[in-house]
Symmetry: C2
Subunit: 589 residues, 2 copies
């Protein structure tokens, strides 16, 4: 159950597809180049393999407990967290003003792949902290920023996000937690559920960000404000002192991510400080939503990669069947096992490319000089985010499933560890917005609302890649044909949607997930074909690692042959419209 970061593939994508050196130079970040990226990823790989990965299975088995002192995390987690924080990993992409290193988002994303592969339960803690830092960094007063950000960036304190309430689910309009003004602060009262790492003993303070309503706030989502509610109030020197009335009431008994405490949090007139202006809490949350959603999408890649690594080791070691000479056959020689391994490998490579390309768009939007470029990259971030979240996490279900399948009966035994990845992965299509919510976002806010303009630009860019590759014509026909066919399906899907949606209120919702999945497979196929083209060019020029490049060509071909055809089923289901989906009376179910 060891883990090694697939540095060569990450390097190839960063260097060739993302063009990280160019990105750093354009952004005026002198140090942000591939030399730095290589060094950072190497260090991250060590930390992941040596410190975090060994705690993944033990953390799942030990789980967490709730006692008098609050939540007790799994053994070894505190020491690992301190090592992790001291190495500076929390501050990678935090602004230098607040003690961070100000590195591009795409590099911290590449690094985050390591943490999420090594130990998804552990990695949720820094992931949530970074999200909280983003909100504070963008919207809080300078005083609040000075008081909280440096300690969070150093990892001395962690952060949490408190959104969901009982019976509210994804429906933030139903938030009932209230905040009453009281001098320079507010008194926050209410209950929040599903709070990841809501309590623990790893750090001396925890900074809760809490959505709540002011008295007489407008109803619905326009009446929600955002507050900082620290576990311990700060004394005059800014050190944690008095315990605040923010406690973990209970912890959930979950299918997976057992070492990540999921808390019911109770706030009883807890002291809170408002972030930014009243009633703008939801828009402040949206600031970090793209980041958080891409980060969860990345978890889909990470856990798939971890599952793939476990499956390939087993497939080489496990003997089943006998050759005529009496020697036993490792199951990797069985074509169907090979097919499953190739599905995992090709999916991981496609997911990695898409996750990094999407993360780089965040940087390009941030550092763009021209308004037009900024608008274009921002639209691309908006478009990619639900695809990365929705498609990668859906795919990760299949990949962790295949890992168990390759293990056969052993995969069903918990000690093997394959089941843990399957259990852990199951939350990914749910939290930070279910696949259904991602798909509605993609089809509605991201496509219908601009008449498909941003999507048309993406399709045009894919077409350029397809035409370039066809013009060079050095790739296997499957790659060229597969990309062109899938692209054509994407074009049909977009046009059909724009034409049909206005006259059928149920159409977008009925078609949304198939629409999202179609574009997920298409984007993956686009970036695999692009990588194949670059690999072929390097091979022709005698550059690069020929072994790696030839394998990339095979994997890209497999992707085109086995994964891209799935767009057919998604398109057909989509074009069926909403009639048969909606026709049954509710009582008939």
């Amino acid at each position: 159950m060891s883990y090694t970061h697939p540095y060569q593939d990450a390097d190839f994508v960063l260097r060739q597809i993302v063009k990280f050196d160019e990105l750093g130079a354009d952004a005026g970040l002198d140090e942000a180049n591939m030399d730095l990226a290589v060094a950072v990823l190497e260090e991250a790989g060590k930390m992941g393999s040596e410190v975090l990965a060994p705690l993944n299975w033990s953390g799942d088995q030990a789980g967490i407990s709730l006692g008098e002192q609050g939540v007790q995390e799994a053994p070894g987690f505190k020491e690992a967290y301190q090592q992790f924080a001291q190495a500076g990993w929390l501050s990678l992409s935090v602004a230098e003003d607040f003690g961070g290193q100000g590195l591009p988002n795409v590099l911290s994303t590449a690094v985050n792949e390591v943490w999420q592969s090594a130990n998804i339960s552990f990695a949720l803690c820094p992931m949530l902290s970074i999200g909280a830092m983003e909100s504070i960094g963008h919207h809080a007063s300078h005083a609040l920023q000075s008081a909280y950000l440096p300690k969070m960036a150093s990892g001395e304190w962690t952060g949490t996000m408190n959104l969901t309430e009982p019976d509210a689910g994804s429906d933030l309009a139903a938030v009932k937690t209230r905040a009453v003004p009281n001098g320079d602060h507010y008194l926050v009262t209410g209950q929040k559920i599903f709070i990841t790492w809501g309590d623990h003993q790893m750090t001396e303070n925890i900074v809760h960000l809490v959505l709540a309503r002011l008295p007489d706030a407008p109803a619905g989502v326009k009446g929600i404000s955002l507050f900082i509610v620290p576990k311990f109030l700060l004394d005059a020197d800014g050190n944690p002192a008095e315990r605040n009335a923010a406690h973990c009431l209970s912890v959930e008994h979950k299918l997976g991510i057992h070492a990540s405490p999921t808390c019911v949090m109770e706030f009883k007139e807890a002291v809170g400080y408002i972030i930014g202006e009243p009633n703008k809490g939801l828009s402040y949350m949206f600031t970090m939503m793209n980041h958080a959603r891409q980060a969860v999408g990345l978890q889909g890649l990470s856990i798939s990669e971890r599952a793939y690594q476990q499956a390939r080791v087993f497939a080489k070691e496990r003997l089943q069947g006998t050759r005529r000479d009496g020697s036993r056959i490792p199951i990797i020689e069985h074509p169907d096992v090979r097919r499953m391994l190739m599905l995992m490998r090709a999916s991981c490579e496609a997911m990695r490319a898409l996750a990094l390309v999407a993360a780089a768009e965040v940087d390009r939007a941030r550092y763009a000089q021209a308004a037009e470029a900024q608008a274009m990259h921002t639209a691309r971030v908006e478009l990619f985010t639900p695809i990365v979240k929705g498609w990668l996490t859906e795919l990760s279900q299949e990949m962790t499933y295949l890992n168990i399948q390759i293990h056969g009966g052993m995969g069903f035994i918990e000690e093997t560890g394959a089941a843990q990845h399957y259990r852990d992965a199951r939350i990914l299509t749910i939290y930070e917005g279910t696949t259904g919510i991602q798909a509605l976002d993609f089809i509605g806010r991201k496509t219908l609302s601009d008449q498909g303009a941003a999507l048309a630009l993406l399709l045009a860019e894919i077409r350029i890649t397809a035409e370039d590759l066809r013009a060079t014509n050095t790739l296997h026909a499957s790659i060229l044909d597969g990309l062109e066919s899938a692209l054509a399906r994407g074009v049909v899907a977009r046009e059909w949607l724009l034409q049909s949606a206005p006259s059928d209120a149920n159409l977008a919702g009925s078609a949304s997930v198939n629409f999202l999945m179609l574009f997920g497979y298409l984007c993956g196929g686009w970036l695999m074909a692009k990588q194949a083209g670059l690999a072929q060019a390097q091979l022709a020029a005698g550059e690069g690692d020929a072994y790696f490049l030839k394998n990339k060509l095979i994997t890209a071909r497999f992707y085109a042959e086995h994964l891209l055809p799935r767009t057919q089923g998604h398109l057909a289901a989509m074009l069926a419209g909403s009639e048969s989906t909606m026709a049954l009376a509710e009582d008939a179910f």
Copy 2:
């Protein structure tokens, strides 16, 4: 977490598709008619809902334990088992000679759906017993049959199947357990793993069937014999007396089916009695393999049905979002939730039809008068069995996944119970032969070995249905077009396989799972279209329950629009052949 048997759908399939009355009459079984079936299913439904279903979640949580006395089953299981046995449910399809009721296999299959939906961990125990009874009933001496079968048919004793050994997995050629002759019996020594219900306290005896090698037996699968090894040896009166040296060494810690003990069994010179002739153990195992594989396929339907029932209740109760008038919206009104529920409903109906049609072929093969008819039905059983096992269990992964997805965050919390179905379902694509093994069986032994003859007959039968429906032309175009297109893909797949396989040793293995899944969806679509045609005819004639029949038309249309198009992706992946699957060097993984 309640459960109600969907009797109306089972009734429709048995009456209209299986033509159970005709089957009973043809078989000369006077009592085997729909009146009896209705009565039996009603009683089974009560037993399932009232006795077994309430123990499903508690059994998962309590699990089983291993102590001095062996395995202790979950609380309530012993009482439930005794109630179940006393009601005669074990003997439904056992021959009347041995105290059974001699009812058709298709009826006991319809009944088995209830047990497997209500409590899959519990239902594994009678399922294994029935398998053991089949082997004994077909191959053991009359003396052994008389000693063991009546007590097993009455449910007083249970039976187990001991095949797998450490490091052997699906590879029965590697069986090492040995049996040494010792007077009128043998002494059996060896270790077996993954033995379902290998020990418990529910009955006073357990009849283990054990695969082992005689001294000087030929190597490989041709040297395996089958033995009865009872937990307690029988005294002169045939009652359990001396404890035999067959013990449960340890129990597995599994992802799911926690209330079903999975034992490591140790036999130390345990007294055993040979079944039939030496070295024919494997062929005796194959006798029951079709039955066992179809039974596991049925578990795929059953757990999907249970998951569907849970999902639809939640979708009606759970409120998310607000209408303009301020009232809250149950999530069943959201089109994407509706889409997921329809996927579950349509899949369950298709699976049920296929499972019952396949089970009826077993009866038709058994009771056929003419040799030609017998051969045809036998071939059909052989063809359907891997499809039922492979396709239904694969589909059940998605269905139990969708149940969690509809529950959102609540689905990830164990107390909700949705996670249990997901965990329990995960074993179904593995035990009794993985999907890969089913697919190899389907593409190799069932298709290539007869040059596709049996498959051609099935395709011809599907074509007749498609032509009949087209001639009547009263169904929605999606159903007619969908079936015809999928049928055309099936024809292409078969022809391509017959043409391409001879020249490529890796082709069948590379294509097998896609081939199997294509035919699974096609068979499901065939039977859904057939049901739609019958429903339409009944509606036109003013017969039957119009509400049920109209819903069947909608569900069949949804199946054709959303599930049949998946055959496109499977065909395309298959036609890609083996090159990209096999091209990567083993070291590259």
